[in-house]
Amino acid sequence: MSKIKFQRKHLSIPYAAFLLLFVVLPLILIVYYALTDVNGTISLKNFINFFKDKNKLGLLSFSVIIGVANTVLCLLIGYPIAMILSNRKYNKSMVMVLLFVMPMWINFVLRTAATRDLLYWLGINGGENPYLATMIGMVYNYLPFTILPLYTTMLKMDKSLIEASYDLGAKPYQTFYKTIIPMTMPGIVSAATMVFMPTMSSFVISDIMGERKISLIGNAIQFNFDQSRWHDGSLIALIMLLIIGIITLLTKNIQKEENVRGGLW
């Protein structure tokens, strides 16, 4: 047998094997567990029952609501910050941007616990106000992820179009709605997906901030696996996967910032 000639594409073989073994195969296992029952018989029963169960539908819609609320809040707070930071009249250095992103490098659990302790001191007790405390914790954690994609999109924005809009007689709010918002749409979509999906599936923030009184999809998956109920847990995970898949497909064309977190370095 002759030795196979070295080709550059062969370098991706270990990576491909790694992905198949540790990404694709585990997902297949999730699908398997989601669509079988304890006896191992394949059935769509679990899947259909999920959408008949009021509690589970409630969990799903509650997670969506929290996700949407957090996305909207982060965009409302973060959009003006990104605009100011990207405007050369107000800010000329990268330092301010780095300051906004720096909390991401301080351990996530520690940061969340710090927020909880501060709120406690200020009289907002996570045990008594789990919703308020959780929302604050969510905004704290995801605001940097909103600012960064918005900022990078705004830097690339063609400023002369804004001037043109003014020259053509548009009022400031018209310019904002008809020129600035459409131009920054890729950043908005990017930021929204970066916030929405992790919010729905996170269980750490709701656990710490809401003192384990709030349950999101992520909490439900984690809880089922803690109790070794793999079939139920996998089913919820599969539904989460479907939601992620649909959102990814829907936003694929608008979203051009492929590597938002990578922009950090």
Binding site: L85, F100, S234
Partner: protein
């Protein structure tokens, strides 16, 4: 002018609010009181306690070991992967890029439980290896995503030129291609370290329960009602200072590089 003052104060106010929790912990790390909010005199006791607390020190060391190992493995695997994908046929390229996107887009909890199922199904005991695999799954696509743009920017002829000048393919890759994409490899490595240091969910599901990292240690501490253990306030200060230090170093370095580039152009 009014607009400028307004804009600046909005940004500074938001920064202040964002840093309030961390700053509070830092301020109260210099006192011995049980809870934040009460000041019982200036002291460094919490810092002494922290370095004497074996659990915290072990968790810190473990966190760094995991991050560096995951960083090295992901960087090698991801860099080779990116080079390989770049030279694949368009169809293979599309498939590989699609697969790379899965861990990036997927919810961390789903990735975590999928790995739990995998390891338990195949009878693998949770140990350092399973934890490392978890972190590599989480981070390796980001290395590929960081290296890929550098490959696209590279002059495709230089590799052929090296071969024409008598280099073996391996030698050409090592001494021509790798130096060209080095900045991408470096940013991929740094990103891997950042993600790994910050991770809780994957760690919680793929570790051996006796192995604690910073995240799992702090998470365990929050499970008890009431405030964080006071020593963690000292820890917050130390971590913040380290992060700040690294950021300043990187910032100064990149500034120097930019100056050089500008001069180079002239």
């Amino acid at each position: 002018m009014v607009k400028k003052v307004f804009a600046k104060s909005y940004v500074w106010l938001m920064l202040l609010i964002m840093y309030a929790p961390i700053l509070t912990l830092i301020v109260f790390s210099f006192t011995e009181s049980k809870n934040i909010g009460s000041w019982t005199g200036f002291s460094f006791k919490l810092y002494r306690d922290m370095f004497k607390n074996e659990e915290i020190v072990t968790a810190l060391v473990n966190t760094i070991i995991v991050a560096v190992s995951a960083g090295i493995v992901s960087t090698i695997l991801g860099t080779l992967g990116a080079i390989g994908i770049y030279y694949c046929t368009p169809k293979a390229k599309r498939i590989m890029n699609g697969l790379s996107q899965i861990p990036v887009m997927n919810a961390e909890i789903v990735t975590a439980i999928s790995l739990t199922i995998l390891f338990v199904s195949f009878g693998v005991k949770f140990n350092f290896f399973t934890l490392l695999v978890g972190h590599v799954v989480l981070t390796v696509p980001f290395v590929v995503l960081s290296v890929m743009p550098k490959l696209k920017q590279m002059d495709p002829n230089i590799y052929e030129a090296a071969l024409d000048l008598g280099a073996t393919p391996k030698k050409a890759l090592w001494s021509v291609v790798i130096p060209e994409i080095l900045p991408g490899i470096f940013s991929g490595f740094m990103l891997t370290i950042t993600l790994s240091l910050d991770d809780y969910i994957i760690t919680a599901f793929t570790r051996d329960n006796s192995f604690s990292t910073l995240s799992t240690y702090v998470y365990g501490a929050t499970a008890k009602k009431g405030a964080l253990p006071p020593t963690l306030r000292a820890l917050t200060t130390v971590i913040t200072l380290i992060v700040l230090g690294i950021l300043i170093i990187i910032n100064v370095k990149t500034k120097n590089k930019k100056v050089v580039n500008r001069r180079g152009r002239i």
